[in-house]
Amino acid sequence: MKAIGKSVSRKDGIGKATGGAKYADDITFPGMIHGRTIRSTIPCGRVKSIKYDFDTTGFTICDYRDVPSKNIVDLIEKDQPFLVETEVKHMAEPIVLLAHEDKEKLHAAKVIIEYEEETPVFDPEKSTLSFKDIDIIKGDVAKALASADVIVEGTYRTGHQEHVYIETNGLIAVPEEGGYALYGSLQCPFYVIKALRCLMGSAHPNIRVIQTETGGGFGGKEEYPSMIAGHALMLAHKSGRPVKIIYDRVEDMIATTKRHPAIVKHRTGLKKDGTLVAMDIEVILDGGAYVTLTPTVLSRGCIHAAGPYRCDNVRIRGHGMFTNTPPNGAFRGFGAPQTEFAVEVHMERIAEQLKLDPVELRRKNALRAGDLTATGQTLREDTSALMVLDEAVRRTDFSRKRKEYKGTNRAIGLALFFHGAGFTGAGERNLKSKARIDLTETGVRIAVGSTEIGQGTRTMHAQIVTEALGIPYETVEVAQPDTSRVADSGPTVASRTCMVVGKILEECAEEMKEKLGGMSPADYFKKNGPLSIERMYEPPDWIIWDDKTYLGDAYATYGWGCDVIELELDPYTFEVKPIKMTAVQEFGRPIHPALARGQIEGGTAQGLGYALLENVVMRNGVMANAQLTNYVIPTTLDMPELDIVMMENPYPGGPFGAKGLGELPMDGPGPAVVNALRQLGCDVREIPATPEHIASCPKMNGSYA
């Protein structure tokens, strides 16, 4: 059956539409009790004493001494504890765990912790500890800058961003025959199992992690669920009972990860005609108090920092700095939205300074097939910067409107961007992801660790298998991710679930088709019994990457996008009203057009929130507006009319030509909005560009009205 390119019904559609789908908080187990996390109320210091100021009868209480093996959330570095021993490094850091069957009693329990406070560091530029430094060198920047006609400099800033998945974090640990099962809302079951093995040690080998229906992730459930799973498991281990921990919105916002704030400094040399000759870029990320994923976020951020432009002399230095704030982590785009905001606003300032047409400046410098990126990667035929730029400019009548809106409170702005798909550099090769297809009595079952978090994983994977096997879509099942039953297909991150895992599934299906020899799966099963095909990912053999010099083929392929926004600025209140957003994006080929469009619409909304509304107010190292009333994301009324354009330029290494898509739409809205505001005389160099910030811009002094 043909399934690719068709908007087939979602595998999870009926369950979610009818309310039948079970999320973590919908699930109970006999004898289950509830867990609660007692957190630090200082950003930096030491725990002096802990007093349990309540009747502890019936409570299970854990502190760090209850850790069975190692008090380490095992990720890139082994620096973050499940529970504070003495040293507190950030606000809302877990210190003690309580569990009780009665939620009222649990929440009434008072734990008094005395601290010895120390002076915290909140400013990443004042921090003296760097988790990771990167230095990418191409050509000779100093020499090229010396010979440039013009040098343009600028510093750009982006703030924290909270994921606001609809379902807050939640995990349940359940003692079972010979071990433990963990059920929860998460993106990466095999990350969780790795962390739990480290926590429990070799004495407890039988642990499995099962992903329950998950109400959104956006990267926010990449690493933090390992922490919560560890807490639930410690309480279950001590009490012998199932333990559920569900965060409420406030706890989820103050304690779990956010997008890294960034400071990006540009020094750019150009010829008079706008040709880039040198780009000197420094990227500083606020990593928070533990390493977590900062090195890899910094890595992707730096690789995208020069934007989709060609330049022979590039230096990109990156620093992921320690601060006494809750660790920042994965968030859709993973460092690229920060650095692409900077480079695109910088390009607009260059056009302004050199009195060049902003489209022509980009067209002149945009990466083409055969060009070398900042890391020295030679781009292939699936390079579409010019294609998306030209289409966006054409269909929005950009140049005419730009002139027409001069002197009004309406403006039009654009941003050109790209996004590498899959893990960086040798990441996919090292990951050795696997995928499996099992024959069933009625068809086949996909058995992968990739998670459905609303983006359509199950449906899209089933389409790929359907098409490759040539069987009805309805006969393809998708197994619930359970680490004891599915293949480790790697984490559900980095826009890799379609392009990488989908590719392995396509190959599994092709191999299975050959084995079936023309029989239907059901007939083959009846005759020969079970059959499973498992394969490992083979990245393209031309990928060469040097992790020491940061040179080589950073990504197997890139998605390309150009966003054009029209907006109005209220002259009295400085509120920005987005009127129309045209998002032209090339990501190989859409497997499921409706879902792909949904990714672009949702990513664009999230990007507009990042650009205009989403302001994490930090006070004393913790989010002060940790409620949906005061941390606002766009509603439908905040959204402009959307013109979504999906262009095709197939990537031969992806399933049916598909590239990664999930993160790409996040990169464009921030700079597009700010570049439009520049047309109104607002010299904005940071986001969110709140009305308060716009009002404070130099040219906005006095009443605009």
Binding site: E104, H107, D248, V250, P571, Y572, T573, F574, E575, K577, L613, V617, A624, N625, Q627, T629, N630, V632, P634, T635, T636, L637, D638, P691, E692, A695, S696, S703, Y704, A705
Partner: protein, 273 residues
Amino acid sequence: MSELDLRRASSVDEALTIMRDEGRTPIAGATDLYVAAQFGTLVPRKLLDIWKLKELRTIGTAADGQTLVIGALSTYTDLMQSAVVQDRLPMLVTAARLVGGVQIQNRGTIGGNIVNGSPAGDTLPVFAAADAVVVLRSLRGERRVPFNEFYAGYRKTVIKPDELLIAVETPSIDGIQAFRKVGTRAAQAISKIAMAAVRDPKRPRIAFGSLAATVVRVPKTEAALASGNSIDEAAAVLEAEINPIDDVRSTAVYRKRVAVNLLRWFWKETAPA
């Protein structure tokens, strides 16, 4: 959500008796109560549900034919749909339309908005600018308090524990009315600043929400406008007269700037032809 002790009243007299004898806090739409309960900041645990008291849900004019009387349990939806409110107090219709979403508009009541006393309450600037009077009743009798004397501080009112807010009365208004809310986003937002204003030729009135601990009128600015000063002069007076707050939603600097801009907007939009 913790355990609550809830009773329900079937008449105003019964409600007043229960309030006197048991010291219960009246609740109606419960839209603020649920938020407080969820955040663990709900203090009163003994509650009295008055949602069903139909006699408090009427909207009409008083015997003088002039005064608009809005029953305390009128919801935002009721206000939007009421012909007499649309006719006499259109700025209240505008304000009601900007409160929360449809669900909140169907449950939230005018009495609740007033007694809850949040400085960001969207209808409060309207009543302040309208020189409204609140009607308070207890078994001891009924009294009328000017709306602009109703608040004693941040979320503090002059209402006594045994008193129930029955209605809010608004005298007839001369001149064009205006309401403008600046929220944190286009809908479902809490005000960063809100303004209600009346261009009464003799006595222009301006009220702001979310600027201070309570809704405020700006008498010096009003006087400047009434005496025929230019809008630039009035704007300068306003700038000196207000001292806005800084909070997680906005800044004092922004609030001051926008308050002045809103005054200018109002004056321009309502200028005689």
